[in-house]
Amino acid sequence: MKRMRKIYYIALKYSYLFVLATLLAIVLSEMVVAASELISQSINTLTVGQKVDTKELLIRAGIITVASMGVAFLKSLSGELFSIKVQKECKSVAVKCFEKVQYRFFESNSGAIINKLTSDISDIGKLMSETLPEMVQHTVTIIVMSIALIRINKYIFLGIIIVFPIAAFLSNIIARKINELAKKRKGKYDELSDIALDNIEGIEIARSYGLESILGKRVSIKAKEILGNEYSRNRYQALANGLTSLIRWVPTIICALIALSLSINNIISLGELMAFLVLFGKISSPLSELPFIIIDAREMMISVKRIEELINLPKERSGSYSIQDISKVKDIIRLDNIGFTYDSAGEASVLDDISMTIHKGDVVAIVGSSGSGKSTLMKILCGFERCQKGEYYLCEHSIEEWNIDSARSLISYVPQDSYLFPCTIAENIAIGFENIDEMLVENVCKKAGIAEMISELPDGYHTEVGERGVKLSGGERQRLAIARALYKNAPIILLDEPTSALDEETEKIISKTIYEDPEKTVIVIAHRLSTIQDADRIYCMKDGRIVETGTHRELIAMDGVYAALYSREVQNS
């Protein structure tokens, strides 16, 4: 129950609107009753054969009409406003949470997140604007009518009320079934969104391999599953509706018959019988509907739970330490025997017993065959993942102590497959900054060797690049990513094969510009060993361990793994 708090809190915050809407609804229904009484009175007068004072009738009816119009307007406004505000805040809170969510979560489920933020939020909106008010209104009607009924005859009232627990019991069983189905179904809709997104993003492969039908099948299988689920839900829903009618029907029959026999035996008067029937007519439908409105509400609560899940996703750990001036720091990065594994069962370790000390201004290279754990090491350095064994010190402080945002502000990271956002080139380079320094953008583009190409574009730095930057070639994308890293001007630069799509000549020139800056500490993963020969230190990795360390010359002299890699490269070129 504790986990549900946040959305409840949001709903509570705006509950004044809800209370207002409910009160207005009650007032409105009273006014409509008053108006219809006014009219039926007139009819009665007419029936008796008397004249109706048209003028007085019109004035009174006019007043009620105008007043009820105002009330109706305000009621509708406050009810909807409540729903809109809750929806807005739920979305806002959920997305704000994304800022702090663990990196790992972002690596999957993007379709599902989109689905949750769209479908479930609108369900919550419906809960707030339709289902909840209905529940409250019905409850109020039941209470008011019950009091009136008790006044006529306690026993008949008991006859009505006794059905209620049965209804509640039955509705509870159905609700549980429907909830179970809803939970599964919503999960399946998530999966459907994930599959659809996956299929669309992989369109290049789908086209060239003619996979439309195979991938379409993935969608239609999910769709079939959803449909099966919907069908069983509909059966329960129909059962619930049938029961609603019957529950309304059975007490009507029983109570009316009791009332009839009471009346025949002169225990209650005919007038009382009439009054009873009228009141009963008013109470029976809310009484029978309420349990099933509760079924609906409970089904929608699944959406509340799902949004709560988003809000409560594991957050990144973050301490309070931050540093302004790193000029006195000597060991900018130090790893002490760290070990890491993706699954907590912890059998297949990805990194094992890694130690390294990197001084400020160093250029350090990490080499090794693909799958040896180099990129994972980068993720640990960025604080995306936390090592399970050993300790990672950034600026001589354990990463656990660091405020994670401050720690990251020290790092420029260029991943293997850099994401370009669907905005202009300049915006992509100055990403994360609210104001773009155009001079600086141009400057870093020159350093990254891409300024010339950009200046040839008709819109220059204001050219829009598509999602994932598809309109640019691989080499252009990589250079933009490097420019982005340079723009950030952080003291630590992490490069994960940043130039693999470039030709050797360009690669060398760009690498040199980056490595030259004595202020920057550079850690680079490279496959092209020729680009890192001047590195201060080279770590050679194999199967998650560091097997050799040293400068290029030392490693060649060692004649081990590195030397073998190098000689293969020399042979090839």
Binding site: V32, A61, S193, L239, L277, S418, G475
Partner: protein, 549 residues
């Protein structure tokens, strides 16, 4: 008018099930009404019985009414189930339709449109459209049905008075439809905003590492909050319209009742109606006006949903990739051609850039390894995509084993080519299934062989779940080199006469690159291999080199 057209179009989606669906709505409404009638008749009998004090004479009637009520309930439930099933079938069908359409666009569509836009269509817009089937249409149809029934009954009692009342109500309905235009406009705006919000979210999620390190999360979330604010503002616009509508309807409803009395009095004075008629019409009219009120309330909602339907139809009508079904003369791929692939005088440029190719010709010899080299950004990848028919040539033609790209079904051309793109894409399925995509009927043994050739078998075996390891987020649980090798295995399994690799080995270390190179060497004289490359190692492997400037 366009609204009605779109509604008809939406209904046509139901196909042969339309009569069943409409019958279900009708029966559901009728049975619920019957239940109501049974209820009121029941009360009437009880009162009569109490008045007369003779229960026995009414016993048969009572039992009859009770049975009628139960039958009506059961039937209503059954038809409701049918109705809901049909509605849900449409919901799912619509989503699948949107998805299937989303897979059929010309390649450039995906470069120009954000995936978030398509997702928003599939989730948000199609949900709103399916609302037509699951609720909105019924809520408009049901009152119309009962309005007709009641109007006929009232007409029989007193035609003149009924006419006057109906005219009043039609005015009321007309005012409602006046508001439906702005409602529609707001609906479209909401859909647009939702689509932008979806994009903002997917930007936060997709960039993963970049978003965290460059603090895009914060900026992205700010952008989302801004859009969220705008969305809520648009919702408020809709809310004001709805509130206005409710106000008008409440007012009109009361006003009509008053007018009714006034008309009644006048007509009685002029002897156009009797007291009994006025009383009878009044009792019917209260129900009628309630239905009209419902109609007024539900009409704008229906119109709103139809506006989404229009958006979805627009989407479904967008031009698809030109899939030329039959060639003029059904040419067959002649695998014996000297030149497997020929580009003849091709002219092509992206709309916003200068032409990349201006009447260039290239040819690629059969069963030879050809390397395409040149600086980054000079059009190497574009050439590959042109060969795959992703873009339309402005002039010239491409021949694959003698077949012209212009008048051959593009799917047939693609069958002849195994493509490994610069950035490998792995679907969220197991490694085995990812490789098997290239050839559905391939046995496990064939998959292992392809993986071995791509130098992927060894590392896959070492994974905890081996070939059954499920990929997520485009395979981000593997390293770049590993992903690339799986993509190569997939290309090998396709066993197409042409292998087209776009920088396929650039993310690999020297050792793996060497192994791939060895594998490709083995294909010499068996396959036509085109390799886009900048590495000397790859170029050395080639029989021919095409140099781009």
């Amino acid at each position: 008018m366009s609204t009605l057209k779109s509604l008809v179009k939406s209904l046509k989606l139901l196909g042969r099930r339309l009569p069943l669906y409409i019958t279900a709505i009708f029966m559901m409404t009728a049975m619920s009404a019957l239940f109501e009638v049974a209820g009121s008749v029941f009360i009437e009998i009880i009162v009569d019985a109490a008045e007369k004090g003779a229960v026995d004479t009414y016993a048969r009637d009572l039992i009859g009414v009770i049975i009628l009520g139960i039958v009506a309930t059961v039937l209503a439930a059954i038809f409701m189930c049918i109705y809901n099933n049909e509605a849900k079938r449409m919901t799912v069908k619509l989503k699948v339709m949107v998805f299937e359409k989303a897979m059929k666009f010309p390649y450039s569509y995906y470069e120009e449109h954000h995936s978030g836009e398509i997702m928003s269509k599939m989730i948000y817009d199609s949900d709103k459209v399916s609302n037509i089937f699951s609720a909105r249409l019924r809520r408009v149809l049901a009152p119309i049905i009962s309005v007709v029934v009641f109007a006929v009954a009232m007409m029989l009692i007193n035609p003149i008075m009924t006419m006057v009342l109906i005219v009043f109500n039609i005015v009321l309905l007309f005012i409602n439809t006046l508001i439906s235009n702005p409602v529609k406009r707001v609906g479209k705006k909401l859909s647009q905003k939702n689509s932008e919000m979806t994009m903002a979210i997917s930007n936060i999620i997709s960039g993963a590492g970049v978003t965290k390190i460059y603090d895009v999360c914060h900026v992205g979330s700010l952008k989302y909050q801004k859009l969220n604010e705008e969305y809520a503002k648009t919702q408020k616009e809709k809310m004001s319209l709805a509130a206005l509508l409710e106000m008008l309807n409440t007012g009109f409803d009361l006003l009509c009742s008053v007018m009714f009395i006034v008309i009644g009095i006048i007509m009685m004075q002029q002897n156009l109606a009797t007291m009994g008629e006025v009383a009878a019409i009044y009792s019917l009219y209260t129900i009628l006006s309630f239905r009209f009120l419902q109609l007024g309330k539900n009409m704008p909602e229906l119109v709103n949903c139809i506006s989404y339907a229009e958006r979805v139809f627009e989407f479904l009508n967008l031009p698809e990739e030109n899939a030329c079904e039959i060639s003029v003369a059904e040419t067959k791929a002649d695998l014996q051609e000297v030149n497997a692939i020929e580009f003849k005088d091709i002219v092509f440029g992206y709309s916003d850039k200068e032409n990349i190719f201006n009447g260039k010709s290239y040819s690629f010899e059969s069963n030879k390894i050809t390397a395409i080299v040149g600086q980054s950004g000079c059009g190497k990848s574009t050439l590959a995509k042109l060969l795959l028919g992703f873009y339309q040539l402005q002039d010239g033609d491409i021949y694959v084993f003698g077949q012209s790209l212009k008048n051959t079904n593009i799917a047939k051309i693609r069958d002849l080519i195994a493509y490994v793109p610069q950035q490998p894409y792995l679907y969220n399925m197991s490694i085995k299934d990812n490789i098997r995509l290239a050839n559905e009927s391939a046995s496990d043994q064939e998959i292992y062989r392809a993986a071995k050739l791509a130098n992927a078998h060894e590392f896959i075996e070492r994974l905890e779940n081996g070939y059954d390891t499920v990929m997520y987020n485009r395979g981000s649980n593997l390293s770049g080199g590993q992903r690339q090798r799986i993509a190569i295995a997939r290309a090998i399994l396709k066993n197409a006469p042409v292998i087209l690799m776009d920088e396929a080995t650039s993310a690999l270390d020297n050792e793996s690159e060497q192994m791939i190179a060895d594998a490709i060497s083995q294909l010499r004289n068996q396959k036509t291999v085109i390799m886009i490359a900048h590495r000397t190692a790859t170029i050395q492997l080639a029989d021919n080199v095409v140099r781009f400037i």
